[in-house]
């Protein structure tokens, strides 16, 4: 049973991630393109999504590692900006996402006379990850309980239900939205509010606070209207 199965209690899960070096590296934009064609699909996941659970500063400038490396090591702002607007949730599979990244890089390669290079100690290292998902003892039965539960769950649980879910679920949505839509009652406003929360440019703890705000504001307003 998936965590947000409609009609069932919402069981919070948690996850931990471990990173694995692949030994594949790129020092210029062409090498990045070439390696991207052959690296394990898990690398695409890690450099777009999984990295959120690794040691990194919590206010990322870019939403994926390819864009950040292009900016900071290749110093090619154009390709960095183009890579940074790729929305991974809009692709049905990691293969499609991989192809989009390659397309953006190839377009840039065709525009440039000289290929941008990084210093030898700033090569791009391809990393893949493995995730362990486990149950927690937290479970809720009613939507209103989200407002009190969310501030208490670990940030890695927020990652699992709000970020990782987007590539796990058929419609690319988070677990909370899927669960709410299967409950009795109209939660379409709340689901729309959740869709407005951009998980990429805030820390996981700030993301948890934003979600807590969305739920508490919604249910406080609902209580006022009922009164």
């Amino acid at each position: 049973m998936t965590p947000g199965t409609p009609g069932q209690p919402f069981s919070f899960k948690d996850c931990t991630l471990t990173a694995i070096a692949t030994g594949k590296r790129a020092q210029n934009l062409r090498e990045l393109r070439d390696r991207l064609t052959s690296v394990d699909e898990g690398c695409i996941y890690y450099h777009f999504w999984g990295g959120r659970l690794r040691p990194q500063f919590d206010e990322p400038e870019f939403n994926n590692d390819f864009a950040a490396w292009s900016k900071h090591s290749l110093r090619d702002d154009v390709v960095a900006e183009r890579l940074s607007v790729i929305d991974p949730t809009s692709f049905r599979s990691l293969e499609e996402l991989r192809n989009e990244v390659i397309d953006v890089i190839e377009e840039r390669l065709s525009e440039r006379e000289l290929i941008p290079w990084a210093l030898s100690d700033q090569q791009f290292s391809f990393i893949r990850s493995q995730i362990v998902v486990f149950n927690t003892s937290s479970e809720i039965h009613a939507a209103e309980e989200l407002a009190t539960m969310i501030p208490q769950v670990p940030t890695s649980s927020i990652f699992y239900h709000f970020i990782d879910a987007r590539r796990r679920t058929e419609d690319g949505r988070d677990d909370f939205s899927n669960w709410l839509q299967g409950l009795d009652g109209d939660y379409s406003d709340l689901v729309a509010r959740l869709a407005e929360v951009d998980p990429y440019f805030v820390s996981l703890s700030d993301l948890r606070s934003q979600l807590a705000d969305v739920f508490s504001t919604h249910f406080a307003g609902q209580a006022e209207r009922s009164a």
Partner: protein
């Protein structure tokens, strides 16, 4: 001093400890054996002294075994260590033969402990050949490399590689350090123990006493670099940065603190250069501290306004982590693991020259609110990413995957 896992809850939050317990549940009762080459001294022993009681606390049956060797063995493995860091070394056939024979002898002695273990973690090159002597091993064997092996001396790496290739997995501190091997290569960054003497909160009077002991004026700003006197740490560059900054901040004080250099001729030469560069400036304190002066170093970091780590080459840079944990902004060399920790304008500044270090020092000392805010962010960054509990979680995650799962996702 050993601490129980619950002692970390006030620092990390109860949810982190609860997560560790849940993660350890499927590993409960498993026999895990760590093997290294010394029980006292060195970073690996320090880590194991802390890690093993915590793993036992979480229900794993964890043990620690140490291999024994003669002076030739340690001479050989010291050379391996240097070679892994890129230094050219010459090793005779006799030394290599002794290395392999010592491992063979230790394998017989340790057979009862290792043969039936569920997970064996071999630390660094010293015990690496043990694996070959356990063809009937029951468990998963992992090699843990604590060394910056980003540019190993190739002949030595070529010699060691066959001993490492047969392991089920290896663990490296950074992806840049990992050398290609035919098994999963896990990345687990180093971490600090917030409850150790190096990092624990200190009473204000203890910090004041250290200031007084080294004649540091509490009314004037202080910048500090803690590291051994090694050219890669660029202590002379730090003095140059201080000298440039004092033109604008005349009251500035500098502390350069590190271990003595008695067994290192290169260190002695660097130290002499440092004394010459300081030119008897009374506001430059060059301190040679004993290896166990953890609380003194802790106090010096806390007494500082800014901590520098102006390395030109660095492994992970745990002194950076330690300074950040104390809420101090770090001005660090743009190299190695410092890049992973120092984020411009957020946790400190990366610099490439003494001029850059001087500029950032002036900026921060003139913008006290920003200095405070960066210090707070630095501490929070370490809390989230580089504490011992985080490392323990990554070890447990890896063990669960190796023991229970295949593929990229394991659902418990």
């Amino acid at each position: 001093m050993q601490h129980h896992i619950d002692a970390y809850a006030p620092i990390t939050g109860k949810d982190v400890i609860e997560q560790l317990r849940q993660l350890a549940e499927p590993l409960r009762g498993m026999k895990v054996v760590h093997v290294n080459s010394t029980r006292m001294g060195g970073g690996v022993a320090e880590i194991l002294h802390k890690m093993i009681p915590l793993m036992n606390d979480l229900g794993l049956d964890t043990h620690w075994e140490v291999i024994e060797g003669n002076s030739d063995f340690y001479q050989c493995t010291k050379s391996f260590h240097n070679a892994m860091q890129g230094n050219q070394v010459v090793l005779s056939d006799a030394l290599l033969r002794n290395y392999e024979e010592t491992n063979a002898q230790n394998a017989e002695r340790l057979r009862p402990a290792l043969e039936d273990a569920d997970i064996v973690i071999i630390h660094d090159p010293q015990p690496a050949p043990l694996l070959r002597h356990f063809p009937d091993r029951k468990g998963t064997w992992i090699w843990r490399c604590h060394i910056d092996a980003s540019q190993p001396y190739r002949p030595v790496w070529k010699y060691l590689r066959p001993f490492l290739a047969d392991y089920d997995a290896s663990i490296w501190s950074l992806s840049d350090f990992a050398q290609p091997l035919p098994h999963p290569q896990y990345l687990v960054p180093p971490s600090i123990d917030p409850l150790s003497d190096k990092n624990i909160d200190l009473p204000e009077d203890e910090i004041a006493a250290v200031r007084e002991r080294f004649d540091i004026d509490p009314a004037r700003p202080l910048i500090t670099q803690i590291s051994r006197f090694d050219r890669f740490k660029d202590p002379v560059g730090v003095i140059q940065a201080y000298q440039l900054a004092t033109r604008f901040i005349p009251g500035l004080q500098l502390v350069l603190a590190g271990g003595g250099a008695s067994d290192d001729p290169e260190g002695e030469a660097v130290l002499n250069e440092v004394y010459a560069a300081a030119d008897k400036d009374p506001d430059v304190k060059i301190l040679l501290l004993p290896a166990d002066a953890h609380r003194t170093i802790n106090a010096l970091q806390r007494a500082s306004d800014i901590v520098l780590q102006k390395s030109t080459r660095e492994g992970f840079g745990l002194t950076v982590t330690e300074a950040m944990w104390k809420g101090r902004p770090v001005i660090g060399g743009n190299t190695g693991g410092i890049r992973l920790q120092v984020i411009n304008h957020h946790t400190g500044f990366l610099v490439s020259t003494p001029e850059g270090a001087a500029l950032r020092t002036r900026y921060l000392l003139n913008q006290r609110e920003i200095l405070e805010s960066i210090g707070q962010k630095a501490q929070s960054f370490v809390r989230d990413n580089f504490l011992l509990t985080r490392r323990l979680g990554e070890y447990l995650t890896m063990m669960v995957i190796l023991a229970k799962g295949h593929g990229d996702r394991v659902e418990l």
